[in-house]
Structure formats: structure tokens, C-alpha cells
Symmetry: C2
Subunit: 178 residues, 2 copies
DNA sequence: GTATTCATGTAAAAAGTTACATGATTAT
DNA sequence: ATAATCATGTAACTTTTTACATGAATAC
């Protein structure tokens, strides 16, 4: 249900194609909602028939035609209404924690190996977020509104990764003490 | 797919009924995987027919009969094997971040109100985790193995909530400056 | 020449949520 | 009296994932 609103939120600041929404799932909206391209095209179809978004076909000579979607005023109203409804808490889904919870069933060394792998991934992600911060939000005072609010979500990502890594270091050190 | 393993991980340390798994979803496994009781009963049925778990019917006079499930050695092997496979990263699903991302569409005061509500929830959750830490993990040195690994996951929860709250305070202060 | 990027979809299967269903006991 | 707890399920629906499908252009 929220995917609709995630798409609206992404489109309201900048009209895009389904392809752009799917591929930039790693940067903007992808940080708080993930979806495959199949799901996105489907939702775009539904949002269109609800008249919450509208598309403009763009012919290209060297590339397949594309449809650029933008939010209608009805769609923007619906989004604003939804924003003020109390958010439902995100469902906890964390494979790694299941693995750690029952981690006494496997040799500690091997468990530490998968842990090290995760640390590498999270470190990389944190670096990526910090790079975005430096590039686009160097002077975080007086940004245009859309960027100001995007920055808050980026900060969430940075806090999350820093907290994750702190926990990982703590846990690794406990694991290494046999 | 992971629900199967979450259930195995919960049952391996202590045999339980479906009802207990569903209701204690708030404490042990519920921290890293949530599911409704319908889903849990369904998975218990599948795990049984796969012979990864086995149940013992217990007749009660004052209560409905119950089935206590425990993990078979085949199930334990499968769980151990799965633990050592590289974990897939958790899908990002965070309604609140969508709302903040497009938060410039609504009056800041009203956005801050839902934010305050979330802060209250997270504060409460952190208190709960800290209480568990004090009650059950006061001397975190030399714990039995099952508890030692459970403690790591609790620590994750504590780190998460602390990081979340730090971010929330930062964001609220930015929002209040106009 | 092989892989990746651009560009959009359909179809089937799996996972998860919501609604419906029952029924006794205990706490307020 | 009413709500909550114990105890287990079926059925329908929605959401998400995986597989299948096409086709040109560009980068390595």
C-alpha cells in the first residue's frame, strides 16, 4: 500500500519514468522503500487509472519511447493527506539477527566471517551516504525545501549505518573473546 | 522464506506452542521477524510435514489442547546450514521516511506532531529493551551460550533505538528552526 | 563479441495481511 | 457484563518476488 505513496513522493519533486524510478531505487526513494521494476510499472498503471499521476509519452530516436510521469494535483492532495496519518511501524525483518540469535549452532569463526562481510557492506554504504552529504548538502543551512527534507532522510541513513557499525564492532569483540 | 528459520531459531532454544510463538512475537523472535498467528500456524504445518519440527499434543482440562513443537535434528542441521549462507539485506520499508521525504507538502507543525508521537514510541521501546538488559543480562560476562547470542540481538535493538532517537532530536530541532 | 544500459511490460508463485470462526476461562 | 487470555485454524485478498519476454545502443 505504501509503495503508491513512495512513488508519489519520488515523482512530486521531479517527474520521472518507470525506468528511472526502478534504477534510482538505490538512491532517493530506495532508501526507505524498495521495489522491483515489475512492481513499479504495475503501480504506475494503477496510479494513472486513479488519476493521481499523469504520463507524457516521449518519442526517442535512438532509444525506446518512454513515459514521463508526474503527480496531478489530486495526487498531491492524497499524498499530503496520507502524510498526516499516523505511520504504521515498519515490520521487523532482519535475516542477520535470526542468524546471530541461533549463532551458537555454528562454529564462531565461520559466524565471524559472515559478520565481517556485513561490516564491509555497511561501511561502504556509510561512505556512500557521507559522500552524498558532502556533495549535495555541504551547507545544510538554507536549502530549498525539497532538498531540506531529503537531507533529513539521508541523515537517518547515516545515523543508522553508524549505529549498526558501532554494534558490529562491539559484537565482534565479544565473539572473539571466544 | 526466512520465517521458517525464524521459527526454527525460536524453537531450538525452547519448545513452544504456536500460540506462544505468536504472542511472544513482541519479545524474542519478534524483534527481528514479525508474523501474524495465521502465518505462524501455516508455517508450523509446513515445517512439520518437512520433518524439521515435531509436535507433541498436550491435553489440558481447563484450556484447549495445545501442540508443543520442537526442532528435530534434521531441522537443526538445516538451520545451521542456513545460518552460514550469506544473509540477504533487509528490504527497506519505512513509512515515516516517505512522509518526511515529502514533508514539505504539509504544515511543519503538523508534521512535528506525528514526529513527537514516534519519539514517544521509540523512547518506550528503548526503555523496555534496557529493562530486559538489566533483568536478564546484568552480568553479561559468562552467560550460557543461548543467552549470550540472544544478548547480541538485544544490543542491536538498544543501539537501533538510541540511534533513532538521536536522529529524531536532531531532525526536530532543524524543523523547529522554521 | 559480451555485458551493461535504456525501456517497458505479462504471468505465475510465494509471502504476508485481513476477515472470519469457535469456545472456555479469568480478570475487571 | 465486558474484555482479555488461552488455543487453533480456514479463506480471501493484497503485496512482493521470481521467471519470462523483447530489442536496440553503447561500453569494454
Amino acid at each position: 500500500m505504501s509503495l503508491k505513496y513512495a512513488i508519489l513522493a519520488a515523482l512530486v519533486s521531479k517527474p520521472r519514468t518507470g525506468y528511472e524510478l526502478s534504477s534510482k531505487i538505490d538512491s532517493s526513494i530506495g532508501f526507505f522503500w524498495t521495489a522491483t521494476h515489475q512492481q513499479i510499472y504495475k503501480e504506475l498503471g494503477e496510479l494513472s487509472s486513479m488519476k493521481w499521476i499523469r504520463s507524457r509519452q516521449v518519442k526517442q530516436k535512438e532509444r525506446p519511447d518512454k513515459k514521463i510521469y508526474r503527480v496531478t494535483s489530486a495526487g498531491q492532495n492524497e499524498l499530503a493527506k496520507w502524510i498526516l496519518e499516523p505511520p504504521s511501524q515498519p515490520p521487523a525483518k532482519d535475516e542477520l539477527l535470526i542468524k546471530i540469535f541461533a549463532g551458537y549452532l555454528v562454529p564462531t569463526k565461520q559466524l565471524m566471517r559472515i559478520f565481517e562481510n556485513e561490516i564491509a557492506k555497511h561501511t561502504e554504504r556509510l561512505q556512500r551516504y557521507l559522500a552524498i552529504q558532502n556533495e549535495h548538502f555541504a551547507n545544510s543551512e538554507k536549502l530549498p525545501d525539497t532538498l531540506r527534507f531529503q537531507y533529513f532522510t539521508l541523515r537517518r541513513g547515516i545515523h543508522f549505518e553508524e549505529g549498526w557499525l558501532k554494534w558490529a564492532v562491539e559484537t565482534m569483540s565479544a565473539l572473539s573473546k571466544n
